[in-house]
């Protein structure tokens, strides 16, 4: 398509940073778009409904997990440079995991979204037929509250 492009190892944090920087400079200097093609690999399943072992070998995935994982590579690099220790990594993992679990439990304690929001934001202003349907639903729920 005649667009300037740069291909980079998408699992290398520093390389991606440098490639993005170069692309930005190019874009600003030339007033042209740039395509960044970041090569990577999807380690997990496509979604919670997917079992990827049905269509790819487990070895393929574990090889990527060992050799190609971006987080592991960055850690290795930082430790190799003596900018971080193994213990630092461990305590960071512990901290972040605790923060995530705390956020999860906080979210679970939040009250359920109000039913009214089902009819909101369809339009800028709720039209009369939606107000009518909302009213019908509430009338129905009054009679059958235990079923829902």
């Amino acid at each position: 398509y005649g667009m300037a492009s740069i291909r980079v190892d998408g699992n290398d944090v520093l390389a991606v940073h440098l490639a993005t920087k170069a692309a930005r400079d190019y874009a600003i200097q030339n007033m042209e778009p740039v395509l960044i093609e970041a090569m990577t690999y999807r380690q997990g399943d496509h979604s919670t409904s997917d079992d990827s072992s049905q269509y790819r070998a487990k070895d393929e995935v574990s090889k990527v997990e060992c050799d190609y994982d971006p987080w592991k590579r960055l850690n290795s690099f930082l430790i190799h440079q003596d900018w971080m220790t193994e213990q630092d990594v461990e305590s960071m993992v512990k901290e972040e995991r605790a923060a995530v679990l705390q956020a999860l439990s906080k979210a679970e304690q939040r009250p359920l979204t109000k039913l009214d929001t089902m009819f909101q934001d369809v339009y800028h202003e709720m039209p009369s037929h939606l107000k009518q349907q909302e009213h019908e639903l509430h009338e129905h729920l009054k009679k059958f509250s235990d079923k829902y």
């Binding site: 997917d50 369809v122 939606l130 349907q133």
Partner: protein, 410 residues
């Protein structure tokens, strides 16, 4: 005219497809023999069934429609228990086996499909006939049209396309409306693309949210020139897919995804055909007529049972089966008997297919009605996520509607 972003994989698929068509034309005599083998068992069934018409009106939408199969007839007594996915898969396999021009394609069909409806088909019938497409619904339907339509170069073949979720049909809508549905009409019947089927899972599934729950049948039934079918389970699915394969018109089949694994039935091993354009009275009754299709029928069965056991109300439950064309005669006959009608579907109420049923029935037998016709449908909002339970036309909403029309008529 459509834009199809070709990349090397897609263009080689197309070249393979064209090669198959060319080979078929060279061996067209053999193909005809295969084709008639496919049909021969149906003919003997027909002869058998001629004496077993059920009492519903049998002026189906098309004069050439096969008759309703008698499921208790001898030939259909050998049955296998299976769910909806297995029924679909077996039927596709049967078609691929007997029609050498048939191909099955769509996103992820090669490894078996995200709902497993096409497992083993590629290993059985080869990569030329069962293959993946790029993520491009316009292209999927466009290719089906091109493959199905005969031209000076080929007789065309049976194209069975899968759209991964009915929610994704919209990019392909122009292909359906402005190409497939008008192909015959705009060419004065010189050409047609009737040899195509588009299958797609539709409807609520508990966690589908905005884009994995939709029921787009109303958009499709508004298009003259295509057939829209909705099976309620494994038995209907086989007969409908076989009818669709024989149909001279493009057919769209909406499969209720919530029933893919859940609905298990004894499916006859023989071929049988569910006639296009004919409804089925699932349960006879005399107080209220209740009409639905696909997944909604499992909900309506519950509502009818509650109406009977809690209130002694006798409901006549009708599965439309075919939405385009649809069997207004059967519904009218029922309403003339009961005087009351409920129509229920998941899709939003405004301009849903229920509106068509209501408008037609009141026109046909207004004086038979003892109460206004009630529709129990989804609300006029996008399909929600958290509020799926409150959004859907539940058995309790339907029970309430049944009681309402009964009370009104007193």
């Amino acid at each position: 005219i459509f834009q199809f972003i070709l990349h090397s994989e897609a263009s080689s698929i197309i070249m393979n497809a064209l090669r198959i068509l060319n080979n078929i034309n060279k061996a067209s005599k053999a193909r005809f023999q295969c084709g008639s083998r496919f049909l021969s068992s149906q003919t003997s069934l027909e002869q058998h069934n001629n004496f077993h018409y059920d009492e519903q009106s049998h002026n189906g939408a098309f004069e050439s429609s096969p008759p309703e199969p008698n499921m208790t007839s001898l030939q259909l007594q050998s049955k296998s228990s299976m769910n909806l996915v297995a029924s679909i898969k077996n039927t596709l396999s049967h078609i691929l086996e007997h029609d050498p021009s048939a191909i099955v394609f769509g996103q992820d069909v090669a490894f078996g499909g995200v709902f497993r409806c096409t497992t083993d088909l590629q290993s059985l019938y080869g990569k030329d006939r069962v293959f993946n497409t790029p993520l491009n619904e316009t292209g999927i339907v466009g290719m089906a049209i091109g493959y199905a339509a005969p031209s000076s170069g080929s007789d065309g073949g049976l194209a069975i396309a899968e759209i991964q979720f009915a929610d994704y049909i919209f990019p392909a809508f122009d292909q359906i409306k402005n190409e497939a549905s008008m192909f015959r009409y705009r060419s004065g019947n010189q050409w047609n693309c009737g040899n195509m089927i588009i299958r797609m899972p539709y409807g609520a599934v508990g966690h589908g949210g905005h884009y994995h729950s939709q029921s787009p049948e109303a958009f499709l039934t508004h298009i003259p020139g295509i057939v829209v079918l909705i099976p309620r389970g494994p038995v209907m699915a086989k007969g409908m897919i076989l009818s669709a394969a024989k149909s001279k018109d493009p057919v769209i089949i909406l499969e209720p995804k919530a029933l893919y694994r859940a609905k298990v039935e004894d499916v006859p091993d023989e071929e049988y055909y569910i006639p296009i354009g004919k409804a089925e009275v699932m349960k006879k009754g005399h107080d209220v007529t209740v009409v639905g299709w696909g997944r909604q029928l499992t909900i309506l069965e519950k509502a009818c049972d509650m109406a009977q056991s809690e209130h002694g109300i006798s409901c006549e439950l009708i599965d439309l089966r075919s939405l385009s064309p649809w069997d207004a005669d059967t519904v009218e006959n029922s309403v003339r008997k009961t005087g009351k009608l409920i129509v229920s579907h998941e899709a939003p109420i405004t301009c849903g297919f229920g509106a068509e049923v209501v408008a037609s029935i009141q026109e046909r037998c207004f004086l038979s009605l003892e109460a206004p016709i009630k529709r129990v449908c989804g609300y006029d909002t996008p399909f929600p996520l958290v509020f799926e339970k409150e959004y859907l036309p539940s058995e309790w909403k339907n029970l309430e509607a049944i009681k309402h029309v009964m009370d009104y008529s007193k």
